[in-house]
């Protein structure tokens, strides 16, 4: 297979300003420039063009994994990362590269209008290269998006498991959101660790913020309660709403030996009683 002709490269360089302008226009027309500043876009397009011509200048060929394409790959990684943070979707990010095809192809058509065979060959070469670059962009875009999602998930997990100290020797864990296996694991670990750290005898798990209780959630709760008991502390479950109580009974779940209270206040009262403390009105 023939490589890219130097005449193609020369034509690209000669018509750089026009190509970049057409490219930018078609990007704007396709709506891929949402949230982007004009100035940024212009800089990105011309920088990319510089990089691709200099890459071709060094005769690096079509293999974009080659060291000669390092710079352009880094540029694209940075670009797709910033697009991911701006909330662009994969199509918008990919069209950054693919929109260059239109202006470039019409340029080549003019250049080689007397030699169709050569035109087809050059088109193929350019198309291959741009496709590879586009694929690379999408790949890194996907990775950046995944990183963003993963970080958010972790933050959510951390946010939803605060263990609070209600009194000397009384810990409370207000659970918010659906309980799945992973969350239960995190919740259980952080609660048990806090019990060891503070030497608390009583832990209150408040499920007011748990929207539904099914058999799986109940099983997770029971596991946590058992683990707390094995460590030598007591556990009270509070915030059992009427609907949840009904569900539990309907499902025939057996919360064997688990102390449950309707609200957190009752649970705290019980905890204080167990610790031998009383709350009285100041006279």
């Amino acid at each position: 297979m023939a490589a890219l002709q130097s005449s193609t490269l020369d034509a690209m360089k000669k018509n750089q300003v026009q190509l970049v302008a057409e490219w930018t226009n078609s990007l704007e027309a396709s709506g891929a420039t949402r949230n982007l500043k004009d100035h940024d876009l212009k800089q990105q397009t011309s920088e990319f063009f510089e990089l691709i011509t200099s890459g071709l200048d060094h005769g690096n060929g079509q293999n974009i994994a080659a060291p000669g394409w390092d710079e352009i790959r880094q540029f694209l990684e940075k670009l797709s990362h910033s697009r991911a943070l701006l909330g662009h979707d994969s199509q918008q990010t990919a069209s950054f590269i693919f929109a260059l095809k239109g202006p470039l192809f019409s340029l080549l058509q003019k250049q080689y209008k007397d030699d169709p065979a050569l035109l087809a060959e050059q088109l193929w070469e350019i198309s291959e290269l741009l496709d590879a670059l586009g694929m690379h962009t999408i790949h890194t875009f996907q990775k950046s998006r995944e990183a963003v999602i993963k970080r958010q998930q972790e933050e959510l997990l951390e946010l939803s498991t605060p263990v609070v100290k209600l009194w000397d020797g009384v810990l409370a864990l207000p659970m918010i959101g659906t309980l799945d296996s992973q969350r239960t694991q995190v919740v259980m670990e952080s609660l048990l660790q806090r019990i060891v750290d503070t030497g608390s005898e009583i832990a209150i798990i408040d499920i007011t913020g748990v929207p539904t209780v099914d058999t799986l959630v109940a099983q997770h709760l029971l596991k946590t309660v058992t683990a707390i008991r094995l460590m030598g502390a007591d556990c009270i479950i509070s915030g059992v709403r009427p609907q949840i109580a009904q569900t539990i009974v309907h499902l025939g779940l057996d919360l064997q030996g688990v102390v449950t209270k309707a609200n957190l206040a009752d649970a705290l009262k019980l905890a204080l009683t167990r610790l031998g403390l009383t709350v009285s009105k100041a006279v």
Binding site: I195, G199, E201, K223, A227, R229, L230, M231
Partner: protein, 120 residues
């Protein structure tokens, strides 16, 4: 041969597991402890597993068995200082050790033992 020491404190026996438990060690402990309870007619046994940071199903079962046998020999048993990781592992293995009393640390375990013995 490696053995886990069993200390006597008045009416109570104190077992502190400071090394990684392996199967033979657990079996020896079971024998030793039953011997000692019958010899000293102890009223209570306190097992401290705060240094134990790994358990398998066998060790989990042994902990249950040891507590069970001391109970049969009329000695109240309290298991103290279980690590969070150990508790989670036991629960995941389905070993909830029903009927075993637990406490957070040795001090509270001792208090619990005294209460239990007084109740009797």
């Amino acid at each position: 041969m490696e053995r886990i020491p069993i200390l006597q404190m008045g009416d109570f026996l104190l077992v502190t597991i400071q090394v990684d438990m392996h199967d033979q060690l657990a079996l020896t402990l079971q024998d030793d402890l039953s011997e000692r309870i019958s010899k000293t007619s102890a009223r209570g046994v306190l097992i401290d597993i705060s240094a134990l940071d790994m358990v398998d199903s066998f060790i989990g079962r042994m902990i249950g068995t040891i507590s069970g046998l001391s109970k049969i020999m009329d000695a109240q048993t309290v298991l103290v200082g279980m690590q969070p990781a150990v508790a989670i592992t036991l629960v995941e293995l389905g070993m909830t050790l029903p009927g075993v009393s637990t406490a957070l640390n040795v001090e509270r375990g001792m208090k619990l033992l005294h209460e239990r013995v007084r109740e009797q």
